[in-house]
Subunit: 350 residues, 2 copies
């Protein structure tokens, strides 16, 4: 026997632990309830009635888009899943297939993405982001950094089921160099989600980050390690120490070369991990102000955040742009696409 086991460590702190976990979950659930923009009516019809109405919306002369919006844009993920199940049983067809047949272009994409279960939707978006014509390091980073650890794991499970491969396998295969070095550990992470912070560690890792950045070693192993493995609470403490000790927010020091795509992704990663609402505000701002609106980004942010923190994002948007997000969406989008987006951000009747 080489070394005496510290038996204090082997004891399982089962009880205190689950209490911590419960507290955290309650806190998260409460937060989500108040931050989501989705409006579900006080009394929701039973799923077979919703399924029947949707089926009616597809029939007859022309599709009834208004009816589709009035139902789907006002049901939460669990309710939408139930409607899909009941629909498949009643009409022998996947609701998504019928929506696909009846709808088109941006409206189709927003309805289909919204109707998917969140983990399935993220798996779909992530897979798209590894394909040649739709590849996007940003989408991969965004999914990896703004979902909870447990939700990211559900995405990886959904990815197996849907794509018969692992998420990290496709990400590793379709990226190279520094981008691979950052993205593979990001999508594979299962970060600790407790609030505990180790101050000594925060100070020493802030120093490490500053040294590497001063040397312009932006993709150094240590920078990658810290950003991809530390808990969000710990990382936040580290970056606060960075700011205090070196007089600059870290992202200021990562800006030397405005055209460096890796640095841009690194800054966005840090923003997603520490201030996701600001990240999404900027994404929406750029998507809307662009010549030729970026509907893919707009649709992605609205469908993925409506049930999570869209109220906070709207707040940031208003503060930064002096107009409401609803105002800008109404100005840039039109028709059923506009109506669906507005409903999802909470500007439709539930």
């Amino acid at each position: 026997m080489r070394y005496k086991t510290s038996l204090e460590v082997i004891m399982s702190p089962i009880v205190s632990d689950s209490w911590q976990t419960i507290k955290r979950r309650v806190k998260t659930e409460w937060r989500v309830k108040t931050m989501a923009s989705l409006k579900v009516p006080a009394s929701v019809p039973p799923p077979y009635e919703d399924a029947e109405q949707l089926n009616k919306a597809f029939k007859g002369w022309g599709t009834n888009e208004g009816l589709i919006i009035s139902i789907l844009a006002h049901r939460n993920a669990a309710q939408r899943n139930l409607i899909r199940q009941v629909y498949a049983e009643a009409y022998g067809q996947d609701l998504l297939k019928d929506l696909d047949k009846e709808l088109s272009s941006d409206f189709e994409r927003v309805v289909l993405l919204w109707t998917l279960d969140p983990a399935e939707r993220d798996a779909y978006l992530a897979n798209e982001a590894t394909k040649r014509f739709t590849s996007s390091n940003w989408v991969l980073m965004e999914i990896a950094c703004t979902r909870s650890s447990h939700d990211l794991f559900k995405v990886r499970q959904a990815y197996h089921a849907r794509h018969k491969k692992s998420l990290e396998e496709d990400v590793a295969y379709h990226t190279t160099g520094d981008f691979r070095k950052l993205l593979v550990p990001l999508v594979s992470a299962f970060r600790y989600e407790g609030e505990e912070v180790n101050t000594m560690l925060a100070k020493s890792e802030a120093k490490t980050l500053h040294e590497k950045i001063s040397d312009k070693a932006y993709s150094d192993d240590e920078i990658i390690r810290i950003l991809t493995t530390r808990s969000k609470a710990q990382l936040n403490a580290t970056l606060n120490h960075y700011n205090n000790a070196f007089g600059n927010a870290i992202n200021k020091n990562l800006k030397e070369d405005a055209d460096n795509e890796f640095l841009k992704l690194l800054r966005a990663t840090i923003k997603c991990l520490t201030y996701p609402e600001k990240y999404f505000e900027k994404l929406l701002r750029l998507a809307i102000k662009k010549i030729g609106t970026d509907e893919w980004a707009l649709t992605r942010v609205v469908t993925t955040r409506a049930e999570v923190d869209m109220e906070r994002i709207k707040e940031e948007y208003h503060r930064r742009n002096s107009v409401t997000l609803a105002h800008d969406i109404a100005g840039e989008a039109s028709g059923d696409y506009e109506r669906m987006l507005l409903a999802l951000i909470g500007h439709g009747d539930a």
Copy 2:
């Protein structure tokens, strides 16, 4: 809208999928049942009776080790968990703490490790493997490569609960260079577990592996990517192609320098991923034949494999050493430690 969504892809293959998953699970369960060495009696006493007997074993003059073995070495993980729960309720104390108080040395370690839930046990072993005096890259690799994807994820969950950090966080912090480069993605992996094999890919990645190995670029990004992200079925196909195309098993070509610790770990990784029984046989052989038996390795392999594939490992052991594992354990271990090990490998009365 930049690119037309391939809507065939967005449809969820829910039905065929869960059927595949069910078939796989049934297959795995059947395999485990026939490969495990653990013997559980046909009629198991209720957990409160086991708890009472264990409590009795601790009382009076001296501990009744025989009674402890006769109970704990013949209960599966679910049964042991129940006993722990009932014990805590009845006696207001964690069973593990009482076992710790009453037992000592190698016998203590085997009983405590065995009694832990498999995911908790692996989290404990992995944490130990990141500590200075007990650090072991091999233990980390072994846990990452020989558990199922789902079981490895349960280890990561147990690691959060027990150590208030993530597994990959500790592994990344306590390793450097090539070892970090290999171990972090190994412990973070959630490999696809389907049997599907892409033959084209297997051929091209076998070629890539051969090129890098010929250049002695043993820790090249591509080698790491292939070994840490591909499914075990895919990896097996790739390595078979390697053998066919280049006339040598890959591990033969990774042997140039017998003292290179990274190469040793790489070979062991490949063995764990493709032929775990052989890996464990060798580990047991070396642990037993060593001058001064390596009890830590012996205890680890027996406690972690008794409920999984110890029958297959015993078969390999017999074939390779011309004596049975039970014979060699009886020769090297003694007393209660020996009795516990023999019971776990199926040589005690259930």
